[in-house]
């Protein structure tokens, strides 16, 4: 496999060509937003420091047999296409360098806490002093102000505090979240990008920049609108209901036959109307549910949902999940194999044919998998031009080419611990 899968035959014109991003973020929600901009052409300068190493550089998974700052795929995936610039904001003289970057940037991006933003002197008002039309995007956990301003968090803490944990999973068991730091990956970076792109349009039309405040708790709560309104309007406090739907039935995830190695296999099935139900019964001719009159109508299926789900599980138990999903889809029934990472990376011919995953050659990890751009523009597609930068790989280059320091000045700033 080669890096060509992601290139989509483009000649390079992208919507954010010529835009520079000063990426002062770390971990997930900030860097992913930066990466989206890089995929679409922006020059994203990721500010890092030995004094404050991004925890994901030290996380998992790491390339087997390798160690150091450059071999963790968790970090690398979110930082492809960027330049890494070392700047120790605790060192004397560092703020001047930071402001020099911002002065030469269009967008400032940060998911640092409000306390650190203030300590480093990187509030919106301060940025405007050097770059009046800057678009400054802040992603504080709970906002730049308010009683919980200094509360800490990340995706695994946001999942419970925004209602997702309470409303997800088995109603008979304790709420354990969703197995990942879910809001960090698509919701918070995604909302941030939408706001930044809107602000870019405004700047093009008026010459004015602005401050974007994405309080992560608000960004995630905004995805839970209907459940929140059931409380604020009706006083109804919803509970989790497993994989059931409020209107589709049956609607669930059913166990199929284990694969030859003993791996559990499951299928998701969602029946939206009586016609799809009849199609399912035709496929499942001879099963206990296909000829059961109790299930002929939506109302009947809902009233007997537990019995129905058991009957469907009994039926799916002997099937190969992937083949059954293909068969059900062939008669128009929404169904899918519950895919795990092996399925996604090795057996999903559809994703492979679309070339979603990019395989980029990284100096320390070799050919490695990266997520492709999550939206496709047919004429000016995003693409990954380079793998994640090595720690500090572009410090000299950025300091001289972008910031205009002489080699002598770079040497001094390095010796004094600023560029470190």
């Amino acid at each position: 496999m080669t890096s060509q899968t992601s290139l989509n035959g483009t000649n390079g014109t992208r919507p954010l060509d010529g835009i520079r991003v000063a990426d002062f973020s770390w971990f997930g929600a900030g860097p992913i937003a930066g990466r989206t901009m890089a995929d679409f052409g922006a020059d994203v300068i990721r500010i890092e420091s030995e004094a404050r190493v991004d925890g994901l550089r030290l996380g998992q998974p790491q390339k087997p047999g390798k160690s150091g700052y450059n071999v963790c795929a968790y970090f690398n995936n979110f930082n492809a296409d960027k330049r890494s610039f070392l700047l120790n904001m605790s060192a004397e003289g560092s703020r001047e360098v930071a402001l020099r970057i911002i002065e030469r940037s269009d967008i400032f991006l940060s998911n640092l806490t409000p306390r650190v933003i203030e300590r480093w002197g990187l509030t919106y008002e301060e940025l405007c002093e050097v770059k009046p039309d800057i678009i400054a995007a802040y992603q504080p956990m709970q906002g730049l102000w308010g009683p919980h301003r200094d509360f800490l968090g990340f995706g695994a803490v946001l999942t419970p505090t925004t209602g997702i944990s309470h409303l997800s999973g088995d109603p008979d068991r304790r709420p354990v979240g969703v197995g990942t730091n879910y809001p960090d990956y698509a919701v918070n970076p995604g909302h941030t990008i939408v706001a930044i792109l809107a602000a870019l349009r405004h700047r093009r039309r008026t010459g004015r920049g602005q401050r974007i405040e994405l309080a992560q708790i608000e960004s995630v709560a905004a995805t839970m609108g209907p459940a929140l309104m059931d409380y604020t309007v009706n006083g109804v406090n919803q509970d989790r209901k497993g994989n059931r739907s409020t209107w589709m039935c049956p609607h669930g995830i059913y166990r199929c036959a284990d694969d030859p190695s003993g791996r559990e296999r499951w299928i998701a099935i969602a029946i939206r109307d009586d016609a799809e139900w009849e199609s399912l019964c035709a496929v499942a001719e001879g099963s206990s549910f296909a000829s059961d009159d109790r299930f002929a109508t939506l109302l009947g299926r809902r009233r007997n949902e537990a019995v129905l789900n058991q009957a469907i599980s009994d039926w799916t138990a002997s099937f190969d999940a992937a083949s059954l999903a293909v068969h059900l889809q062939s008669v128009g029934i929404p169904a899918a194999l519950i895919q795990d990472a092996e399925d996604m990376c090795e057996h999903d011919d559809h994703l492979a044919e679309r070339g979603f995953y990019a395989y980029l050659d990284h100096p320390e990890t070799g050919i490695s998998l990266y997520d492709g751009p999550t939206v496709k523009l047919h004429d000016t597609p995003g693409y990954l031009a380079s793998p994640a930068p090595l720690f500090g790989e572009h410090t000299f280059e950025v300091a001289t080419d972008v910031l205009g320091y002489s080699a002598q000045e770079v040497a001094e700033l390095t010796a004094s611990g600023v560029l470190a």
Partner: protein, 427 residues
């Protein structure tokens, strides 16, 4: 009057529920979003939950939430006249967003409602297609729902208990992520179109957009050849996971190497409240301080530490159980510990922080013709822009509420012609 970010951008929103959020994001930023509905109205207008619990097509809180700020026109694309009217409307638009199923897409193409033809006639038009699996590839014809997308994107397998079934994340998150992806694509294409005068096709595959939420699962497969499995309640080490409190649950993320929020502070907290028991012995703080992420994956290392871990777990479980969720959350956070309350919708609705920040909006929402408006407390926006704040300018529309205004006043269809079109059921 404040200028909005998307002033002067007209968007036709033909989406089903799975695409509603894209139009909402853009409408709240100031775009003129016109919902183009079939003559009987969007079939998803009747989805739960309902105002006062009363099911109906004019009482869906879900519909109101995702369709505020949009205007509504109706048109029957199955009729020739309806298609002609739609064609006239497209000429006034900058962006079209749809989420047609594959059968709908080919049926409409046969009738001549076809993106490529529209874009040929109108070179600066942007056409956004939200699909389950993309416009091409072997599964492009597959049917999709939120559950199906969560299954196919590799995230359902990670949620739930190891001895139970994979689980779906609440809140139709596949549709949310689809909407975010499509809004991004629409805006990227808009920036490009306004710079060079050329529109283009934009495509969201929900499977792809959602798959980045696998976190490290796919990366682990790439590096190690193993698939991550759901872990449910198997705390990998004490301090991390869901804990019962006096009145509910909290999630605690204390002691993750590299995340701050150290166990030593947790021990200090328990000690100050006289509940640390033998955890004040240095071996506990030292063990946790020396722990690293790598050890979490190494069974032998974990086994060696089991007596210390088990005792710490026991004491901590009793400590959290002595507090309410809100106490554990606020007191822990005051000590800069990563603790989150497992909040219900009521907890969020009553949250002092969100209230102090005036996140909630008050909206007058008409329920049906002639009846009084419902006064509703409406969730606020995901972000706050200082120069071009989002706003809710109008409540969700009734079916075809803006037919007259759009077709006659803006598209320029003579009023008597509109009456004729209505008579034959085209609008």
């Amino acid at each position: 009057m404040t200028q909005t970010a998307l002033d002067g951008v007209r968007i036709l929103d033909l989406t089903s529920e799975m695409g509603w959020y894209a139009g909402k994001l853009l409408a709240d930023l100031g775009a003129d979003v016109i919902k183009v509905e079939p003559v009987g109205g969007d079939p998803a207008r009747g989805r739960a939950p309902y105002w006062n619990g009363a099911p109906g097509r004019e009482t869906s809180l879900r519909f109101w939430y995702f369709n505020a700020n949009k205007r509504s026109v109706t048109v029957d694309l199955g009729q020739y006249d309806g298609r002609w009217l739609f064609g006239e409307l497209v000429k006034t638009a900058d962006i079209v967003i749809e989420s047609w199923t594959a059968p709908e897409r080919s049926e409409l193409a046969e009738l001549g409602v076809e993106p490529v033809a529209c874009m040929d006639a109108q070179p600066d038009l942007i056409w956004v297609s939200i699909t389950g699996f993309g416009l091409d590839g072997p599964r492009s014809g597959w049917q999709v729902t939120d559950l199906i997308a969560q299954a196919a994107s590799g995230i359902a397998t990670l949620a739930g208990y190891p001895d139970g079934s994979p689980m779906r994340i609440a809140g139709n998150q596949a549709y949310i992520v689809a909407g975010i992806s499509a809004a991004q694509g629409a805006l990227l294409a808009l920036l490009q179109a306004e710079a060079i005068g050329a529109g283009q096709r934009v495509e969201t595959s929900i499977q792809e957009a959602l798959s980045i939420c696998q976190e490290t699962a796919h990366l682990q497969w790439d590096f190690q050849g193993t698939s991550r499995e759901r872990i449910g309640e198997q705390h990998r080490m004490p301090g991390i996971g869901t804990y019962q409190t006096r009145d509910g649950y909290i999630y605690s993320a204390v002691g993750i190497p590299g995340f701050g929020s150290p166990w030593s502070e947790l021990i200090r907290w328990m000690d100050e409240e006289g509940q640390a028991e033998d955890l004040i012995e240095p071996v506990y703080a030292e063990t946790f301080a020396n722990f690293n992420m790598r050890a979490l994956g190494v069974q032998e290392e974990l086994a060696k530490l089991a007596p210390i871990m088990n005792r710490a777990q026991e004491v901590l479980t009793a400590f959290y159980a002595s507090k309410t969720s809100l106490e554990a959350y606020e007191q822990g956070q005051a000590r800069r510990l990563l603790i989150g309350m497992v909040a219900s919708p009521a907890d969020i609705g009553d949250d002092e922080h969100l209230k102090a920040r005036e996140w909630w909006l008050e909206i007058d929402q008409p329920t049906r013709l002639g009846a009084d408006d419902a006064q509703i407390r409406f969730p606020g926006p995901p972000y706050r822009l200082s120069e071009t704040p989002t706003e809710i300018r109008r409540p969700a529309p009734k079916i075809g509420e803006h037919n007259q205004e759009v077709w006659v006043d803006e598209v320029g269809i003579p009023a008597e012609d509109l009456i004729a079109f209505a008579g034959e059921g085209a609008v």
